[in-house]
Symmetry: C2
Subunit: 345 residues, 2 copies
Amino acid sequence: TRSINLAVIPGDGIGQEVVAQGLKVLSAVLPQDVKLETKEYDFGARRYHATGETLTDADLDALKRHDAILLGAIGDPSVPSGVLERGFLLKLRFAFDHHVNLRPSKLLPGVASPLAGQPEIDFVVVREGTEGPYTGNGGTIRKGTPHEVATEVSVNTAFGVERVVRDAFARAQARPRKKLALVHKNNVLTFAGHLWTDVFNKVAEEFPEVTTEYMHVDAATIYLVTQPERFDVIVTDNLFGDIITDLAAAVSGGIGVAASGNINPGREFPSMFEPVHGSAPDIAGQGKADPTATILSVALLLRHLGHNAEAERIETAVAADLGERGDAPRSTEQVGDALAARVAG
Amino acid sequence: TRSINLAVIPGDGIGQEVVAQGLKVLSAVLPQDVKLETKEYDFGARRYHATGETLTDADLDALKRHDAILLGAIGDPSVPSGVLERGFLLKLRFAFDHHVNLRPSKLLPGVASPLAGQPEIDFVVVREGTEGPYTGNGGTIRKGTPHEVATEVSVNTAFGVERVVRDAFARAQARPRKKLALVHKNNVLTFAGHLWTDVFNKVAEEFPEVTTEYMHVDAATIYLVTQPERFDVIVTDNLFGDIITDLAAAVSGGIGVAASGNINPGREFPSMFEPVHGSAPDIAGQGKADPTATILSVALLLRHLGHNAEAERIETAVAADLGERGDAPRSTEQVGDALAARVAG
Ligand SMILES: CC(C)[C@H](C(=O)O)[C@@H](O)C(=O)O
Ligand SMILES: CC(C)[C@H](C(=O)O)[C@@H](O)C(=O)O
């Protein structure tokens, strides 16, 4: 498209600060003839406290009209755990059928990994985004009594698993190493695990060039710290994906640089791009937050909308910036300015 | 007790080799007047292929008569995924109500962590062992069709959560740092998460000296690689415990030294002790497997039976052995011999 109509959700805590830098870099990278329109939405803790609302049907209707969504972070200790997560973040992922949750991990030059030996890390996790233990199925009986029982139901469908597995195979096929690992726990979660494994093996037949492996999620955490270089593309369930992508972010430079896309590949709904990190209320408002993860999320957003050259410009700028930055701490704005200058240059 | 009547389950792959060394060290450490009786059971892949059985009611009756169980490893690629896990390992944990799954992580001197800077690591994970997503609840409809739906139900009870949380608080109270972290995902798995959190907060009132914190499982994986020294005791759900204890083992020296106990604290049933590692069929029969994890599991077994001095002797021997061993690779037997000599000495 030669125009981008973007919904911007700064959200809570450091969300405002990092999104401002994301937009700065986005404006700087876009060619003159691409018209950027943005509309800001006030979702998050403030709105919840003021109105009791997290995400209404009218909100969804409004968001639906955008080409994509850029999100900072949602969450604040003043709101009970789960309210904004289920009421906003997950509600949006489910409403807009964001079934491909894309989380690349790359250890960039000049970035320190907590792993000894600074291994080469360059893989992407394709996390399912609309099923598994995230559906909100389950319930509680006899709440607050010694006889309380609480259940959580992981729901997995052939339809849902196949589309995300297929997406992951296509991504693996397009990468030089062409490797895909399925991560699950099919020796214990046998119902869901066998569905995932059967679908994975069936789709694999259509991608003979892709080398596949299966790994239990517990073993995957070991490999992520002992042999992260072995991974190319990983496809996994919603909850396992949540867990291993935080670990992946940690080993590849930290959540300060971890980007993500909540993608609806068929574009029936706008996709949403956000840093993996949270709202970090402890450092909010101090200009300390690293906006790099948000800026890399902008690159994912651009690639999703077909602006591949601009996405690449941002990624190259981030790599150069991290490799050449000094030891002195930089403010949120300084990082944004440096990257805006690089992508414009 | 002045006698130990032990069930020994060598199992598959390297299980035989490591258990032999575990028994060697056990015999060496016990004082003359403690009578050790052992009975070997042939569970695992061989028995399954020969008879189709994994663990019968008669087997459970026989095992029940022992004071404790030492297990090597169960699992072989020739058996479909899930058959031995659900049919033997988990069946036994559930039948003998092993609700405290104890997994200590300590980075011993001379052991290399994959983490840069070799942080100080000394914590224990108390993993719930009889509930959560491990219950086998759930099912599949329309199997093998494009309309298949597979569910997994995580079952959590106030009874089950409270007893393991209480056990973890008692362990934290008994340690110098007196810190306990609850690891869950209560912002997404709100039914189970709120039960865990409420029970945790209620039991905390009885342990005013214990410092508590709550952490989402995804964040916990980050801290395990960036700040593992912050942990003292962790209590968590069955599946989260499975995942983070493999990661914990990896950062604290690898699964070659990770021990575990499947404990029934009330002693209605024998507890089972096993290395965290699996049967490693790729190196089985070559005398290459590290028996240290099994030998440390023997220490946990001895402590459970009240032989604290002997447990400590083993742990001290392992620490000394690892600290003083050379660079040359040692066989399974050499490690066992070295440790047997140290504990007897
Ligand atoms: C905040 C929470 C709902 C979310 C998740 O669990 O998906 C977050 O951890 C993430 O990874 O985006
Ligand atoms: C083999 C499997 C059933 C088991 C588990 O998931 O508990 C193992 O991974 C463990 O951690 O003991």
